[in-house]
Assembly symmetry: C2
Homo-oligomer: 290 residues x 2
């Protein structure tokens, strides 16, 4: 199964940004990609760098956005993983991945469950934590375990998707460096980010797809300089081996061939699911055991 990840910049306006995405989708589709994954909140800049109610307006188009991307999926006959800003009602918003099947139908939604809040990533202001749980989305290409960005740091999320039958783990994401950090710290952060996601492949015997944005985006509030999104979108196999990997500064359509059969081969050798001590995991449901 040929897949494509679109690692791109924000072009300031939604119109220009989406135009670039559509161009890449068209190319990827012509090159045979059947599953196309877009980065987190791909229609706009990463607006969570500051807290400003004006950005809630971006969610006004939620319903039109769904209709729009539905048409794109149908036109190109692809399964399409989008990442949108959901307005559920006034004052209630989610960071939501919508997956479209190749006939344009909505295959399913995933509302980001783990919400970060750190300097430059003020997501708790914008997004209500998801309430749809960790449910794989059934498509004509299989069951997709779609998670979003901050979720990638949580082994629990990947495991739950696995236990519910996901055949791929997919992370649309938006993560980058602050220019003022030292080179060694930047390298450690990037390496940790790749490592933790590869570990989900290994622990669960599943391919992992991670699609990140790239390029510098200014903090519009002027409080900080901005974020240099580090790209490095990648695909790894069920042993965690990288099979495709983009660099840190260029827009890229990243292609990979994924074999779902490899999961069975790897899991039959490394049968981690067989030996889980579910009789002793109850404290995982606690915040802390003090």
């Amino acid at each position: 199964m040929k897949i494509a990840l679109i690692q791109q910049k924000s072009y300031v306006t939604k119109e220009k940004t989406v135009k670039k995405t559509l161009n890449d989708i068209s190319n990827a589709s012509q090159n045979g990609a059947k599953l196309i994954v877009l980065q987190e909140l791909h229609q706009t800049e990463y607006f969570c760098q500051s807290e400003d109610t004006k950005f809630f307006d971006y969610a006004d188009s939620w319903k039109e956005d769904i209709a729009f991307w539905s048409n794109i999926a149908k036109e190109h006959n692809i399964v399409l993983v989008t990442s949108l800003f959901e307005q559920r009602t006034a004052g209630l918003y989610h960071n939501t991945a919508v997956v479209f099947d190749s006939d344009g139908s909505v295959a399913g939604k995933y509302r980001k469950m783990h919400i970060p809040d750190d300097p430059g990533f003020y997501e708790k202001f914008y997004f209500t934590p998801g309430d749809l749980g960790f449910e794989p989305i059934e498509t004509s290409l299989g069951k997709l375990g779609v998670l979003i960005c901050w979720d990638q740091w949580y082994p629990e999320a990947a495991r739950l998707m696995t236990l519910k039958g996901a055949e791929l783990l997919i992370y649309p994401t938006a993560i980058g460096w602050f220019d003022e950090d030292r080179k060694e710290e930047k390298e450690r952060q990037l390496d940790s980010w790749i490592t933790i996601q590869r570990s989900h492949a290994i622990a669960n015997g599943l391919p992992v797809i991670s699609c990140n944005r790239v390029g510098f985006e200014k903090d519009s509030s002027g409080v900080m300089d901005g974020i240099r999104f580090w790209g490095n979108s990648f695909v790894c196999d069920p042993q965690g081996s990288l099979i495709a990997h983009a660099n840190h500064q260029e827009e890229t359509i990243l292609y990979a061939d994924i074999s779902k059969e490899r999961t069975k081969e790897v899991r039959d050798i490394w049968p981690f699911l067989r030996d889980r001590r579910i009789d002793t995991y109850e404290d995982l449901l606690k915040r802390y055991c003090d």
Copy 2:
């Protein structure tokens, strides 16, 4: 805090193997190590390559072994992590880490919870799965999250130790290659093994210490050739960065300096424990959601 891992070969007899270990402990202690970690089942060869009741005799000395290593810890004034074959009663055995404090007292025990069973690693024949849970062991150097070998593939084990206050994660282990496997497969296996353990450091903001055996050990049953234990003992910091790393073929006393303060710095930047969705993790207690 200076620590040392002793990565060594099996010298066929217990007497010779332990003699080498004692020599290394003496050197490590003289070089200032306060915590010394030994590899899995360090007193003997890795006898689980075949299923033979004669090997249960190795557990006859369980009580004497405890007295023996207690004296060593006291003599060198070190916290010592050992990995022994526990005879609990006739026909009931565990793969048990015993931790001694620097005064020679038994600080605590950990009975291996996840038990493998694969060609060449027939541990389900020998070891009853642990029934002491995932409890860190309190020592004069802090709370040690001791886990053993196969446990290292389970994010659940590392998380539970973390939630119970572990300040370090420690894995005595015995893992290696079969010579007949292809070079690429061997590289993938080693890389997966390092990656999954580094991921526990990252997910939990804790240093990880992994001590593996090295050298070739024949399968005494003659069914398979044997296992070439791949060494590569390592220590990584709470971001998963390697701070000490042994090679795949040499006996090594591997030293590292560990800073417990670094955990707070890293966790304050990456507060993963803050955002766990414990209200939605209940299915982690299931074998599979079908």
